[in-house]
């Protein structure tokens, strides 16, 4: 059974100017321990998909959500607001693009870490939290956990903050990690280290990951399976290797062609819009079984 099963997910926003359709029936599934990427350009709907899974959009006035999101076999829509909130930070956690702005600048790391741990262990003491946090920071290859815990986020580098975020996101051993463009704000060498670290940790703990990115290269290195999303529609899905080696959809092919290669080659002629980008979805192999 899939850990996360999204069926025919639609989202529209009611604005003063009318209704804007953002998602047009997204279907995706993530098995336990699987790393799945959702790749697309800005405005394609990849981040809102993650936010719906996390339950952040359900209570927003003006957002109309259709379809089904099942986590561990339970339909998120059938849960009460309280139950949905209980999942967050405990069974489902999220890492955001910019680590430094995701941490509260006016608190040191230690109290923020305690707040995260309290999601699972509500009455955790300061000393216990500190001990747990120290172990978790060591897990993300931070050699001086005490110094980090006593620092404000702005006193740490972006790479260090990103590791703190990863440690926090995995602190309660969530079943599902939503990673929204992790490391995009970091230098390539730091980004590479961050991804290696994340890959190792989720493998160790059997965490499933929904990895959201616009960066094709990062997706290829990280994900087992890839969904390509274009304007609120899944256009191609399959094992990462198959999608990258034999892209079947016109949009996926355009994305691949547009990506400059490290090995050189002429700049391609790319069109930004093409009616073929709305072709039906291309599926590789049998998904998710």
């Amino acid at each position: 059974m899939s850990l996360l099963e999204v069926r025919n997910l639609t989202l529209s926003f009611r604005l003063w100017s009318g209704i804007v359709d953002v998602l047009h029936g997204i279907a995706l599934s993530i098995a336990k321990g699987e790393r799945v990427a959702l790749v697309g350009e800005s405005g394609s709907g990849k981040s809102v998909t993650a936010r719906i899974v996390l339950g952040l959009l359900q209570d927003l006035p003006g957002a109309q959500i259709g379809g089904e999101v099942r986590f561990n076999g339970r339909d998120l829509a059938s849960l009460s607001r309280h139950e949905r909130e209980a999942l967050r930070g405990r069974d489902i956690s999220m890492i955001f693009q910019d680590p430094t702005s995701s941490l509260n600048p006016v608190y040191k790391i230690a109290p923020q870490f305690r707040e995260v741990l309290a999601r699972r262990t509500p009455r955790i003491t300061l000393a216990e939290a500190r001990e747990r946090a120290t172990a978790l920071l060591q897990e993300v290859a931070i050699t001086e956990p005490a110094r980090v815990l006593d620092s404000y986020p702005f006193q740490l580098s972006g790479g260090m903050n990103q590791r703190v975020m990863i440690a926090m996101a995995l602190a309660n051993r969530p079943a599902l990690l939503l990673a929204d463009e992790p490391g995009t704000a970091l230098d390539v060498t730091v980004q590479a280290q961050t991804l290696d670290l994340m890959a190792r940790l989720v493998a160790d703990h059997g965490t499933s990951v929904l990895f959201i990115s616009h960066n094709l290269g990062v997706v290829r290195e990280f994900a087992d399976r890839t969904y390509v999303i274009y304007r609120g529609r899944i256009v191609e899905a399959g094992p990462t290797q198959a999608v990258f080696e034999a892209p079947g959809h016109a949009y996926t092919r355009a994305l691949m062609a547009a990506q400059p290669r490290l090995t050189g080659g002429a700049l391609p002629d790319i069109v930004e819009r093409d009616p073929r980008f709305f072709d039906p979805v291309v599926l590789h192999g049998v998904p998710g079984c």
């Binding site: 800005s42 990258f244 400059p260 290669r261 490290l262 050189g264 700049l267 790319i270 930004e272």
Partner: protein, 263 residues
């Protein structure tokens, strides 16, 4: 065309001195695209600021066509060296139409006579692949790629000798990036432009640059022709930088792993 000798910049902040750039010497030849690559804090944007005259160097000299560039630039210097920024939305005045933004550059530098300037604005838009009716639009009514085209048109307005491009495509989606890179490439070849291209994206640099200078901690660690630098980088830092780039094909991966193994 541009030659930089022993350029250094030290920022003094409180009790700290931050050496942003240390003893940088490089030249930009007419018609080439010199890429400056490095990670954050490597001094690449400081170099851009110094070349543009936004801040004076602590030491060293800059020469444009064999005449020294003073710390305080005249309007002719400003006309000769133009900038395209990373985020076109914040680079364009949101209250001013696209046409007015382009017109302002022509007015400031007194290019052509006022009667011919509307036609010049249309010509500039055509140069970057936009139709004349875009002149009436506000930047907010354009897509990211169209905005960056307008920013390029504005830089082209006063026939600069050198264009400093500071991460011009890193805020753009990959399809749009490909188009803007193609536009920049074609403009350089067709109009004989010269670029100083600041970037952290090595794959982009490979596609657009003729020569590359790799920066680290404010110093040049390696410089050379693009092909040579990518196929046989000499400095271990350059190799590690290339080896960290996420790639999408097996050929790239093979090349990257080869370089990574030898560093």
């Amino acid at each position: 065309m541009l030659s930089v000798q022993g350029l250094s910049k030290i920022y003094v902040t409180g009790r700290h001195n931050v050496a942003a750039l240390t003893d940088v010497t490089l030249t930009v030849q007419t018609g080439e695209c010199l890429a400056v690559v490095g990670e954050s804090g490597s001094g690449k944007s400081t170099l851009a600021n110094l070349v543009l005259g936004l801040t004076p160097p602590t030491a060293g000299t800059m020469m444009l066509d064999a005449t020294p560039l003073p710390a305080r630039r005249t309007i002719d210097h400003r006309r000769a060296i133009q900038l395209v920024q990373q985020n076109p939305l914040s680079a364009l005045n949101p209250r001013r139409s696209v046409g007015a933004s382009l017109r302002l550059a022509l007015d400031v530098h007194g290019i052509g006579n006022p009667a011919t300037r509307p036609a010049k604005v249309s010509a500039l838009l055509a140069d970057v692949g936009l139709t004349p009716d875009y002149a009436a639009r506000a930047p907010s009514a354009l897509s990211g790629g169209q905005r960056q085209r307008v920013a390029i048109a504005r830089a082209l307005a006063c026939d600069p000798r050198l264009i400093v491009l500071d991460e011009p495509t890193s805020a753009l989606d990959v399809l749009v990036q490909a188009q803007v890179l193609r536009l920049l490439h074609d403009l350089r070849l067709n109009r004989g432009l010269t670029y100083l291209f600041i970037s952290h994206d090595l794959a982009v640099v490979r596609a657009i640059a003729t020569r590359v200078a790799v920066f680290r901690h404010g110093r040049i660690v390696e410089a050379g022709a693009t092909d040579a630098l990518f196929t046989s980088p000499q400095d271990p830092y350059t190799r590690s930088l290339i080896a960290a780039v996420p790639v999408i094909t097996e050929q790239e991966k093979a090349m990257r792993d080869r370089l990574g193994a030898s560093s």
